[in-house]
């Protein structure tokens, strides 16, 4: 088996984790989400420290930037920005979320409590222009992220593949740290592709100061989709390989 595993210090990283209210989350569908996603290769070796042992690094390592605007939800309109490091849980592609920023207090609480998103309150905007799609995030009025899709080019939504997320979260019941797998389903109504550009990244804001070094840009996509956030099906022990440390919590 591949000897390269993530080397994240889960105990230390636990200070950024949200508290999850158990694993009995019900599915939720959010209609008409506007999704900006960038893929950028990152330097391999330092990035291993940004994913837990339950994951293998992707070959090559790459980061995923998301800025997603939800026009409607039980908590009103809101937007989320997040940065993930891609890897594999066993044989499945997954992205470990370093940090999420949400501009809606109630939505943020729900995402943290029900799916373990490591949410902080901030300002998040997704701007659609004819030549680009721009995602921005700030914390305490300090810009921490600006990323873009340049040269918008229509493609089929069927050509887009988004991978599931892994959140390090603390279980409310026993206080233990777990990695929660969240694998949304997407029903696409629009797809675009373009060149990715990260104009601004405050790595401290995403807790990855010296470990995340952007390298080779890969692609950017923009999609309009209905997003179904699922029941939580699997949780993992962050400090064990997925083959040994995965627990099924729902069918």
């Amino acid at each position: 088996m591949p000897p390269r595993f993530g080397t994240l210090d889960s105990t230390a990283w636990g200070k950024w984790a949200s508290t999850i209210d158990g694993y009995k989350t019900e599915e939720l569908t959010l209609k008409g989400a506007n999704i900006l996603e960038l893929h950028i290769e990152i330097d391999d070796d330092p990035a291993d420290a940004l994913i837990p042992k339950t994951m293998h690094p992707a070959i090559p390592a790459y980061s995923i930037f998301n800025v997603i605007s939800y026009p409607d939800s039980p908590w009103g309109a809101f937007a989320i920005a997040e940065l993930r490091v891609a890897g594999r849980t066993g044989v499945r592609p997954r992205g470990f979320v370093l940090a999420s920023i949400c501009n809606n207090e109630e939505a943020g609480k729900a995402f943290a409590g029900r799916w373990g998103y490591p949410i902080r309150r901030g300002d998040v905007k997704l701007e659609l222009r004819h030549d680009r799609v721009v995602g921005r995030a700030s914390l305490d009025d300090r810009p921490v992220l600006e990323c873009e899709l340049l040269d918008r080019d229509a493609i089929s939504g069927g050509d887009i593949q988004y991978i599931a997320s892994m959140h390090l979260a603390r279980n409310k019941d026993d206080g233990k740290l777990v990695v929660v797998q969240v694998d949304p389903e997407f029903t696409f109504s629009k797809g675009e592709r373009g060149k990715p550009r990260v104009a601004l990244l405050d790595t401290d804001a995403f807790h990855c100061a010296s470990s995340l070094r952007l390298a080779n840009p890969i692609s950017a996509s923009f999609a309009v989709a209905d997003v179904s956030l699922p029941k939580i099906r699997y949780i993992c022990n962050p400090d064990l390989p997925a083959m040994q440390g995965t627990t099924k919590v729902a069918a």
Partner: protein, 370 residues
């Protein structure tokens, strides 16, 4: 039905120079034995940067070594990457011609375009372009092999008039194949009169449909070469053991290790949204099907692991759906000790090959003892 070997050449960490050499030496020893046992062909991939999964970036060199150690086996590119950032078409024409000469006319030329961002990104190749460049390359290669003087003005490459030498030993030229991973590529193969070099397992029903479609379309093809190579091959794992449970157990471990490694790589489609890669390609299919449901023994359907009777039964099913040739992966990360791999080959040749038409030489060879 004919049987061949298929090499990814996977190498476990740590990558000391002796580790790499041992793996290559083991492969060459397997090939030499397989030749004496009556296996028909040996194929080698072209992969780059696929750490542990495949350390085979220069298949023409490995295949040359194979040709020097064998008398009858055909040597096949499975495949040569037809993307200009990877290989210039003139160099492909030249290298393959030399290999055909050195092997005494035993070369098969599989063609393809890579399916991982790990490789495409490494060469800064555009995933949107690979199908188009592959098409240009396969139309040019036969002319470069057969025309005394050749010139070309195309979309992805061009050259003024030159004499490309040497020409292949086989006349008019070596058989050409297409790697079939994405759905519909078997149609590309058929329309161009090329062999279908299956690199995914797929189920029997899926394969039967593909074969039917391929054979129907190739009847009216416009061949890129000077002849039609109507052939369907597929890839499989092989671990043959007298004890069925042991064969299944070791074989499942072997398939599991390779599939696990494959999953760590970055498929083009995962990284770069494009219609050029409608499926995830070789790797996820390997994983899905080889780990799929099986019978009470736990052996996945269609995989050639277990005792000779089980393997014969599974291969008969492939034969029944129209597959002409099965190419076997024998090892991964040296999971199976070399002596066991060699014993598996011997047992297969002795007990399984005689059940298949076209493998009669094998039975005789195996009966001679090795």
């Amino acid at each position: 039905m004919k049987f061949g070997l298929f090499y990814e050449i996977s190498v476990p960490r740590p990558w000391g120079r002796e580790t790499e050499k041992t793996v290559y030496d083991n492969c060459l020893e397997q090939v030499a034995l397989a030749d004496s046992l009556g296996f028909d062909s040996v194929w080698a991939v072209e992969h780059h940067f696929l750490e542990e999964y495949s350390h085979c970036p220069a298949p023409e060199l490995f295949l040359t070594a194979c040709a020097m150690r064998t008398k009858k086996m055909r040597v096949g590119h499975g495949i040569v990457v037809c993307v200009p950032e990877f290989n210039h078409p003139i160099k492909i024409a030249e290298r393959t011609a030399v290999l055909d000469i050195l092997s005494g006319g035993r070369l098969e030329v599989g063609t393809g375009r890579s399916a991982t961002w790990t490789e495409l990104g490494g060469f800064r190749a555009n995933p949107d372009e690979t199908k188009k460049t592959w098409d240009e390359f396969v139309h040019c290669l036969p002319k470069m092999w057969t025309q005394e003087r050749f010139s070309y003005q195309g979309r992805s490459w061009s050259m003024p008039t030159r004499t490309i030498v040497p020409k292949p030993y086989q006349k008019p030229h070596p058989p050409m194949w297409v790697a079939v991973t994405s759905p519909g590529t078997e149609i590309d193969a058929a329309e161009r009169g090329m062999g279908s070099l299956g690199l995914t397992f797929g189920g029997f029903a899926e394969q039967e449909e593909k074969v039917k479609r391929y054979r129907k379309i190739i009847r009216n093809c416009d061949p890129v070469g000077e002849f039609v190579n109507e052939s369907v091959s597929t890839v499989n794992f092989l671990y043959c053991h007298e004890d069925d449970a042991e064969g299944v157990k070791v074989g499942k471990h072997l398939t599991g290790v390779l599939n696990y490694l494959a999953a760590q790589l970055l498929a083009a489609r995962e990284a770069y949204p494009t219609k050029s890669y409608p499926s995830l390609g070789l790797l996820p299919s390997l994983r899905r099907d080889a780990a799929g449901p099986g019978d009470e023994s736990g052996a996945p359907e269609g995989i050639a692991i277990g005792n000779p009777a089980r393997i014969t039964r599974e291969l008969k099913k492939w034969e029944a759906v129209g597959v002409d040739r099965v190419n076997f992966l024998l090892n991964s990360l040296e999971t199976v000790p070399q002596e066991s791999v060699l014993a598996s080959l011997r047992l297969f040749a002795k007990e399984v090959m005689p059940h298949f038409q076209g493998s009669s030489d094998a039975a005789a060879a195996a009966a001679g003892g090795h």
